[in-house]
Symmetry: C2
Subunit: 354 residues, 2 copies
DNA sequence: GCTAGTCTCTGTATCGATACAGACTGGATC
DNA sequence: GATCCAGTCTGTATCGATACAGAGACTAGC
């Protein structure tokens, strides 16, 4: 059994408080006594104040949670998520705070419990799927949090860092529309919960529950509405999960239709790369010159020559953690909108004259 | 102030123990009383048992630490580290355990404190630099850990997952030697602590403190010794940190020497890619046909056509976490050696006849 | 010589829960 | 009717520290 602080106190013949001070408040005791205490501790093999007990008494833990409302192992597969994590890590480093990654079990009841049990001082919520239940639990616990997805019902005091999803998506679509494309497919993650992969019929964009997906689809639609292409004329392809292979599978059949789209707008680079994969998988003579756009500008996008919308991933993570660890006094400053930019590469081109 | 468990107990008129049981041991009380308690808790806004207090009393935390003996933000930059993390995450997910990423301040005293203060049940130690001090602290705390770097002084009971670094490195060098290369440079991370970037003189490989770097250099040397090329004839290039740009910088001057190497063996893919960058940066007419090998086989290696030694990254992380969370009864089973394989691509070729 | 003030150190209360032994009921068993 | 037992619930001890008020000892200042 490891000795406790009490054991060290007894060995030296001082009070528990004094030993505690030797570790946490060196100015509260003479240097000489402090050395005697630390020596005794070394001799006894005292491992230093128990972190859990300390946290309990102090009322804070010294670590922040990062919540992915999806499988944790997925987070490391998604290049954008990894850059986000790097940003959070950089901020955590600056503040001497640890990062707790909490895996969420598939069942919501279990997932709630996981969030309830996380020993953290606050959360960075990286939005992947529906997060409302998670925010409920966090609020219930009275913990601060920073969200990265804009929500309509967000309280004015809720901290947020993100981009104008709709405007950013619109810029990509405007580029495509400007190139003359009118038969267009939109491909996105979790368009409808539990909908199968592939094209689906959607009366309107309002039906999409996932806020980020919804906003991006809205942005795409905005640009096409402007050139006279209505929502009903757009093909929407659902992908269950933001996965390259899933996107390839879901989009494979798209180009064999009677009047195939000439451009595909993807809700993320990962999906866009999947679409490119599906095209590359076709025999060379049957490879239509489809324009493809992505979203995020992950490192792989540049290598693939993918036209995409850049958003600062690492910055997003860094600012999320900073907002959490060092909250601005001004509530308005807790709402950060990051810039985006359309990056045109060679995956997009004018609509071919047929 | 959030209500405590006591407050709920008072509200319902039962003992604290019973409320505790309502959450943690539902079989210990009648379903009907449990419902009454949970209802009251909801009404009072009780957030559920305080995770810290619970951990203190129970004696365990429900999370494992992942220790990178380098900057935490660096870990997310290194593709191999990310795959390792993904593996740890997958195992953590299976066990319902969280992962704590602990940033280590540059000063060792502070770094020790960070490890002392981490609220975890054990550590996966991902070896980047010298880790001995970290293992000391972990042992002192009496926590279990799994290491991924073989150390000479490892106790028989210490859990480990890794590869035969020396043999794996040797396989890459044997390939290069077999292609006829005799003037060769080895480039590695942290060959000597605080040594400047670039070629350095090293009496022997034993001087290298970092165990992984040392073993890989040894493996390289082994293969060349076999074809009559001694240690003194090998150029060793130091890179401070496993970084692509740093490797490019450190190796840039290498090819302007009177008798430049015809092959470069890198201690990691990241470094090898840096060497390729340095070559690509030269004007086309002055680009010698250098053979380059890497180590790890990260995703980027395939795209770059890099010949390398594959080691299973995700598997390594997964097994590290499994060994920690579900220790084998048999001590020998706690020592896992993973397979490696030489992957020959087009970054290596026969030595050019000049 | 007396009041203040500074350094050190102590003692008690507290953080918020869980473990475990034991008490109380009511029904089954013989 | 005594005994046993399973099902519920309570009470006390405990997990391992930190906060905070305050007690002594000493040095200064007047």
């Amino acid at each position: 059994m490891k000795p406790t602080l009490q054991a060290v106190a007894d060995a030296v013949g001082v009070s528990r408080s004094t030993v505690s001070n030797a570790y946490s408040r060196p100015d509260q005791l003479s240097a000489i006594l402090r050395e005697r205490i630390l020596d005794a501790a070394r001799q006894l093999g005292y491992p230093g104040p128990n972190p859990t007990a300390r946290s309990l008494r102090r009322g804070f833990v010294g670590s922040i949670g990062v919540l992915f409302t999806s499988q944790l192992s997925y987070a490391f597969t998604d290049p954008f998520a990894v850059r986000f994590l790097a940003g959070v890590g950089a901020a955590a480093e600056r503040h001497g705070t640890s990062m707790l990654l909490v895996p969420l079990p598939p069942a919501v009841t279990d997932a709630r419990r996981a969030v309830e049990n996380a020993a953290v001082d606050g959360f960075c919520v990286y939005c992947v799927a529906d997060e409302e239940w998670a925010l409920d639990v966090i609020r219930q616990r009275g913990l601060p949090f920073v969200s990265t997805a804009a929500r309509d019902d967000a309280g004015a005091d809720e901290r947020f860092v993100g981009i104008d999803e709709r405007a950013a998506a619109r810029s990509a679509a405007a580029h495509i529309a400007g190139l003359g494309h009118r038969r267009v497919a939109l491909i996105a993650d979790s368009v409808l919960p539990d909908a199968p992969a592939g094209p689906l019929t959607l009366a309107g964009v309002d039906q999409v529950p996932h806020p980020t997906t919804r906003d991006r689809l809205r942005g795409f639609a905005d640009a096409f509405a402007e050139v006279g292409v209505g929502w009903a004329e757009l093909t929407v392809v659902n992908v269950p999960g933001n996965s390259r292979t899933a996107a390839a599978a879901a989009s494979a059949g798209l180009f064999d239709q009677p009047a195939p789209p000439t451009a595909v707008l993807a809700g993320s680079d990962v999906l866009a790369l999947g679409v490119l994969d599906a095209l590359a998988a076709r025999p060379a003579h049957d490879r239509p010159p489809i324009s493809v756009t992505g979203f995020d500008d992950v490192p792989e996008a540049a290598a693939a020559g993918l036209t995409t919308v850049r958003q600062p991933a690492e910055e997003k993570g860094r600012i999320a953690a900073e907002l959490l660890l060092d909250p601005p006094a001004d509530a308005a400053a807790g709402h950060v909108l990051l810039p985006t930019a359309l990056v045109v590469r060679n995956s997009t081109g004018p609509v071919p004259r047929s």
